[in-house]
């Protein structure tokens, strides 16, 4: 990419006692991106965010923001601002004073401060609560104060730590749209940290999936979903069927393997692999039929229906196959008479197009 706004190069964070929170991470974030750091609890994503903000320092590697190495720059001098998970809105100041705080402590003239504060409050629709104290406000309102407080400083990068996790479902949807709209309006880079894949997939333009301190994959939401690079990513994002397979032969552009219960399969791929790989196919890509499907080129296998779960618009069917793991199939319920039309114990054929599955080497 052309000059990234944030460049994380070989950054590690080791704590005394041997705990490695962040392990040799390399990420480049482009200006005006809505970037997400996604991963399970404890994977190091928040630590990484805090290192970008300057509240923690890496034990190895460099963090470069706007072309400058941030190694000697303390958090109060960085062109970043953070919205904390607990919002951290100062309880002893009014909303207005909270938002103006960052401007006042950096010596911005009072008339400009007043103007920009009013603008920021307008942007998050809190102008009518300017004189309130935080303890008289709801969580969602306090979050907007925290947002305004950070945005009024016009940072190059806005960092958000789990912005939606403390909100209830309806508020979450509203805030999700709000954040996306804000990012486009204000035109600055947003980096959010979240453990919720729905949040990341729906808001971000690119996502870095992180597990145990290391980056698993950096890609757009659809790339992550359709082309996961590792078992972890495939399993973490959405639901997936993973079938273990033993590698039979490996050529430069293809891998042939024996998949449990499925037989011999060949995949066109340039990935390197060891002795075992996993075949991955998403539940909605699988088709069921009572009779053996006759179309050419399909991967197909026979099995028995173990469980049917009806969800109104879809049904989740679990099929057990001989010699292999259970496959989950998600079907749309087209028929008006209800359901998928299959019952427990029924013999059934599962099939899919070869292009709909892929091989995972790690």
């Amino acid at each position: 990419m052309t000059d990234p706004i944030v460049s994380i190069r070989g950054v590690s964070k080791k704590f005394p006692g041997g705990v490695i929170a962040v392990d040799d991470v390399n990420i480049d974030i482009a200006p005006n991106e809505f970037f997400a750091l996604l991963g399970p609890s404890g994977c190091g994503k928040t630590t990484l965010l805090r290192m970008i903000s300057g509240l923690e320092t890496p034990t190895d590697g460099q963090i470069i923001i706007g072309g400058q190495d941030m190694a000697l720059t303390p958090p109060n001098k960085r062109p970043t601002n953070m919205v904390f998970q607990s919002y951290a809105v100062f309880p002893h100041m009014t909303v207005e004073d909270n938002v103006a705080y960052g401007l006042r402590v950096t010596g911005v003239p009072e008339d400009e401060t007043k103007r920009r504060t009013a603008e920021a409050l307008e942007m998050v629709k809190l102008s009518h609560l300017a004189k309130r104290k935080p303890d008289q406000m709801s969580g969602g309102q306090r979050q907007r104060v925290a947002l305004a407080r950070a945005l009024v400083k016009r940072p190059k990068v806005l960092l958000l730590d789990e912005p939606l996790s403390a909100l209830d479902a309806k508020l979450r949807d509203d805030m999700r749209m709000e954040l996306t709209r804000l990012q486009e309006t204000v035109g600055i880079t947003f980096i959010i940290v979240t453990h919720d894949q729905d949040e990341a997939l729906s808001m971000a333009s690119r996502i870095a999936v992180i597990d145990k301190g290391a980056v698993q994959q950096i890609a757009t939401p659809s790339e992550l979903y359709e082309q996961p690079a590792t078992r972890f990513v495939a399993d973490f994002i959405g639901k997936v069927n993973l079938i273990d397979a033993k590698v039979l032969s490996k050529k430069a552009k293809a891998i042939t393997c024996e998949a449990k219960g499925l037989g011999k399969l060949t995949f066109d791929t340039e990935k390197a692999c060891g002795d075992t790989v996993a075949v991955a196919v998403r539940p909605e890509k699988l088709k069921i039929s009572k009779a053996e499907p006759k179309a050419a080129g399909l991967i197909k296998v026979q099995g028995n229906v173990r469980d049917v779960a009806y969800y109104g618009d879809t049904s989740h069917i679990v099929v057990s196959i001989k010699g292999g793991p259970d496959l989950q199939v998600n079907v749309q319920n087209d028929s008006r008479t209800g359901g998928s039309g299959v019952e427990r114990g029924q013999a059934i054929w599962v099939s899919w197009m070869p292009d709909d599955s892929l091989v995972l080497t790690e």
Binding site: K14, G54, E56, T57, T59, A71, L72, T73, P74, P75
Partner: protein, 282 residues
């Protein structure tokens, strides 16, 4: 002011900052030097205690042989022992009552219980002196045999100790799960049995901590004892005071060191007993 960021640290790592460590060092030094030198010089041979002349236990021997000093120490211990016993029982009862019951004017009662802690000691001391004098208790106890002649002092000590015990025991009771009590009754135990077999064992760390607190407060007390004791019923701090008024001497150092050791041991014990509960709240 450009703040250098060491790799691996954060801006809130104040504990690692040099100026804080220096400040700590200076303050701890100033806090402990007088005490340490006091203890150290209790082993000094020099009478006037300034220059170090040699190590000796003589001062301790002299203090031990000083019968009035020993008598004062025994008085102090006896008073502390009896006062602790009574104060612990009273304090525990008040704590139980406050923990268990709702009643009108409870807030005012709690403030009333807190009065001995808040009133300046000297006011309490002179009030008790006056009281014992006017009620004739002062002259009455003088005639009694030991240890009853210490009664006034014991009464005074109980009065200012048991509110502290109540606070300690009460904070322990706050963590008690009443469902344990209900389970006990559900299994057939009576109120009395439940009390002894379920509540008291739970209260025990609080009771012991409170008792140790009362013991220390009683043993160390000077002001109130100063006003309520007579020439026949001198306690250790009061005796040391009269010695100090006459001047510095290593014997006093020796006697003080003994008191310090007793106090430190009691305090550390009390803190250790409070500790498990602290981590539960943390």
């Amino acid at each position: 002011m450009a703040e250098q960021m060491k790799p691996g640290s954060g801006p809130l790592d104040y504990g690692n900052r040099l100026w804080l460590k220096v400040l700590f060092g200076v303050i701890f030094f100033m806090l402990y030097v007088p005490i340490i030198t006091l203890v150290a010089f209790s082993f000094n041979t020099d009478r006037r205690g300034i220059v170090w002349r040699g190590f000796t236990f003589d001062n301790y021997v002299k203090a031990w042989n000083n019968s009035s000093l020993i008598e004062a120490m025994i008085n102090s211990l006896m008073i502390a022992f009896i006062a602790t016993l009574i104060a612990t029982v009273l304090g525990a009862m008040v704590a139980l009552m406050l923990w268990r019951f709702r009643f009108p004017f409870k807030g005012a009662y709690e403030a009333f219980m807190g009065l001995p802690i808040v009133i300046p000691e000297i006011c309490m001391g002179v009030a008790l002196l006056l009281f014992f004098n006017e009620t004739g208790m002062m002259t009455a106890v003088v005639a009694m045999p030991w240890p009853l002649n210490l009664s006034n002092i014991i009464i005074a000590h109980v009065a200012f100790c048991f509110p502290f015990v109540a606070i300690v025991v009460r904070s322990r009771l706050v963590g008690f799960n009443r469902q344990l009590e209900e389970a006990s009754k559900d299994l057939g135990a009576s109120e009395w049995q439940t009390f002894w077999k379920v509540i008291v064992p739970f209260m025990m760390p609080g009771l012991v901590a409170g008792a140790l607190l009362a013991f220390t407060l009683s043993l160390d007390d000077f002001v109130i004892t100063f006003f309520t004791s007579g020439p026949e019923t001198v306690t250790f701090p009061v005796k040391v005071y009269s010695l100090v008024r006459r001047g510095v001497s290593p014997e006093i150092n020796a006697a003080s060191t003994v008191l310090i050791v007793i106090t430190v041991v009691a305090t550390v014990l009390a803190m250790k007993l409070q500790a498990p509960q602290k981590s539960g709240k943390g």
